[in-house]
């Protein structure tokens, strides 16, 4: 019926109880098992864990991006005085509160970097530093003219420093909104909503900047000579697809335990689906913007990044991205019904979560191949690029999957840590509106 307000269903189970603890335990087991397998697999490769660390950066970016996506919803909800999302906001808050755990797990690749490990990021390689010395004039002229002036920014110590700053800022912002929200559960003070609304504006600006820079540092610096100013925005689009898909699945998982069954309806899933749809297109829009400008400009230092991805085996991954991450979900999520029928939405959420991972893989892994080729292949000196590109391999490895699953376990453990107390902001002034939410 068409009431604008609704009150909480008397039988509603909105207490987390043991839910968080069991989720954390499951997550921890998954993390330990799969990361142990991954370390074993990485060790057997005998490449000083290079393959393991590449897979780890992809997996870490994955769980980081999911937190980035859901945290955006929390801030946006306050910023625009949203209504529909009040019933899922506590869950989104709990997911964004995984930031500290996520950033601690990232130390696995940051600490080796600081300790002098240089196979992961090319710019940390002695060759990159060698070009700073006057003796290697040829290197300076030919190999690294565009890298030279970036080595100040891309130094291991500065990188690690920025990493800590990002981690602290994300965690502090997520903690602020969660803390105020839980405070409101006790006092019911509507002024707390106002406080969060005022804070969400500046928080959004800080968030936008550090998300961009984190994407530049962790992902774009994999190919340090290449650059794209829209890269961070593109990463954010992909992150929000992953974030909303993950939010839908977590909400469904919680409902399966018998909690929140009366409060969260297909109307709310519909809205989660709308965001997923919107960001699916947004990702494609920014990805194409990045591609088209570089394709049209046709400058070697820019197109080389695409040359590694659009030829040889990688072209099939690129086509899979175009069809799987954009065309298919775009066409089918357009309909009202694919978003309202929960099993269909779940299908697309899982689908997009897989392709979101492939997106990150597509961004990172060509750099792994390139390093191997640049140092080991004889055909490299023959002409610009051509010989090397044809040899390019996608090189899927089981370690990619095990690291990915292990880090999903870390994320689940991080989420579970904060699924406690009320799963609904029970005294939020907009809760009634959210419960009665209907899409016209």
């Amino acid at each position: 019926m068409s009431a604008l307000q609704k009150s909480l269903h008397p039988d509603e189970k909105y207490k987390a109880g043991k839910l968080g603890q069991s989720l954390s335990r499951i997550g921890l087991v998954i993390a330990l098992v799969f990361l142990a397998i991954s370390v074993l697999l990485g060790w057997t490769k005998g490449d000083h864990f290079k393959r393991f660390l590449f897979a780890y950066v992809i997996g870490w970016s994955y769980i980081f991006s999911i937190c980035v996506g859901v945290f955006w919803l929390v801030m946006l909800h306050h910023l625009v005085r949203g209504r529909w999302a009040t019933v899922v906001r506590r869950i989104a808050e709990a997911m964004s509160m995984a930031f500290p755990v996520v950033f601690v797990s990232g130390l696995v690749f940051v600490i080796p970097l600081v300790a002098g490990y240089h196979d992961l990021y090319y710019w940390a390689h002695p060759d990159a530093a060698l070009c700073l010395e006057p003796a290697a004039a040829a290197c300076k002229e030919y190999l690294n003219p565009t890298l030279l002036h970036k080595l100040g920014w891309l130094s291991p110590g500065f990188f690690a420093g920025r990493y800590v700053v990002y981690g602290v800022l994300y965690s502090a912002m997520a903690a602020y909104f969660t803390k105020k929200s839980r405070q409101q559960d006790e006092t019911g003070d509507p002024k707390l909503s106002e406080d969060m609304r005022v804070a969400s504006g500046p928080a959004m600006i800080v968030y936008a900047l550090i998300t961009c820079f984190a994407a530049f540092d962790v992902l774009m610096s994999m190919a340090p000579k290449w650059y794209s100013t829209i890269y961070g925005v593109n990463f954010w689009g992909s992150a929000c697809v992953g974030g909303f898909a993950a939010l839908g699945l977590v909400v469904l998982g919680i409902q399966r335990t018998g909690r929140l069954t009366h409060s969260i309806s297909p109307e709310h899933y519909h809205d989660i689906g709308k965001w997923m749809f919107a960001f699916t297109f947004f990702w494609a829009y920014t990805a194409f913007s990045q591609f088209m400008l570089q394709w049209y400009g046709n400058m070697p230092e820019e197109t080389v990044w695409y040359k590694y991805r659009l030829f040889g085996e990688w072209q099939w991954v690129s086509i899979a991205m175009l069809v799987g991450f954009w065309a298919f979900p775009f066409v089918f999520l357009m309909s009202r019904w694919t978003k309202r029928i929960v099993p269909s939405l779940v299908f697309f959420a899982v689908w997009q979560l897989v392709f979101h991972w492939l997106d990150l893989y597509w961004n990172v892994m060509p750099s792994y191949d390139w390093l191997t080729l640049a140092h080991g292949s004889a055909s490299v000196s023959q002409g610009p690029l051509a010989g090397a590109v044809l040899e390019h391999r996608v090189g899927f490895s089981p370690i990619d999957i095990t690291v990915w699953l292990g880090l999903i376990g870390v994320l689940l453990a991080g989420i579970g840590r904060n699924l406690r107390g009320n799963l609904l902001p029970i005294k939020d002034p907009t809760l009634g509106l959210s419960l009665a939410h209907e899409n016209l």
Partner: protein, 436 residues
Amino acid sequence: MSDERTPGSPSGAGARSGANEHDDRRDGPLYGLLAEYDTPGELVEAARKVRDAGYTEFDCYSPFPVHGIDEAMGIKRTILPVLIFLGGFAGTCGGLLLQWWCNAYNWPWNISGKPVWSIPANVPIGFETTILLAVFTSFFGMWIANKLPQVWHPFFRNERFNHVTDDAFLLGIEARDRRFDAEATPRLLSEAGAISVERVHLDPDPATRQMPKWITAFIVASTAFALIPFAIAAKARTSHSPDPHIHIFPDMDFQPKYKSDTAMDLFGDGRENRGEISGTVARGSLGADDTFYRGIERGADGDHWTTKFPQQLEINEQLIKRGKNRFEIYCSPCHGYDGRGMGAIPQRVAASGGAWQARNLVDAGNPVAINMPNGQLFNTISNGYNTMMGYAAQIPHADRWAIVLYVRALQRSQNASLDDIPPDHRSGMQMPEATP
């Protein structure tokens, strides 16, 4: 008027008040019943009851969209989304077709050797046309589906209806509904909780229900008038005329001013151009140094092209780089970056089936440019050579010398052997590939 509302009365006449009395005197046939409800919730409930009673010719009126009203009234979901999708899809196909027809089929045009038909380049336009047609379908489809624009409705005669854009929630049933009954229908509406039920009559004069004739005439006339430009354009495409062009703004087409190289009676030589006055030099235009400004050395044995560089210039790496920069801007389109005469323009000539190339500046086999003294190269840049035009107007003197210097560097490097490279640099010649 709203404060005079009274609870519903099936008889109708008793409930009316104020301005409606004026209409009572000249009521025509009954159009329908208009019931008012206090809240959106009651309106939805009433709509459900009316639908359950089997009525089809009724509608609800509210100041804002009411959740659930479509379902309560038994209105089917609109097919507009499907139409919008098809409209958008037609926009995608139409946009791509337009670009293919223009660029690749009807008028293929070679732009810097880029392909005439290339999907990535066509995506932005395809995207725009998709949005355009989807939005058009959405906007005009909504008007058509809602039977808009509707400038007049019988309920407008009812004073209460004026509040529908403010605070009134109304339900109207038309008398033409086959279940309509003068007794039962008002009772149904009242039992559903109406705070008033009123009978609304059409105006007794049928002419007031017609569109005024002058509006029809205006629409027809303005439509015909709007077609005139198209008709003229269509006629012009299929006919010939000896008449001169029509000048809509003659004072812009024929401006009272003189352009260079036109005739003018005012001066004795009949020319508009005024040359330099003999015996004078413009400020900064003296150019007394023949070597620097003309590349000529004057000697006892006559004038000859200089083989050196003017003493004003310091020959260093910076000057070579300046020369490279200028060379790549002004010279490379024809002579190529390597000076071998196959720049972008000769390549384009070759691509379109012709055969022409610029002078090979570095060819040791036909060393015309290699054997030219510096001064002659400078003079060539300044004043041109065969079909090459002079660049004196575009490139300052010092820059022309920098280009000469760079051409000398090119001539040397393009004919270099390994011996020209210092031994300590030879190991670096096996360069790795360009990296991302």
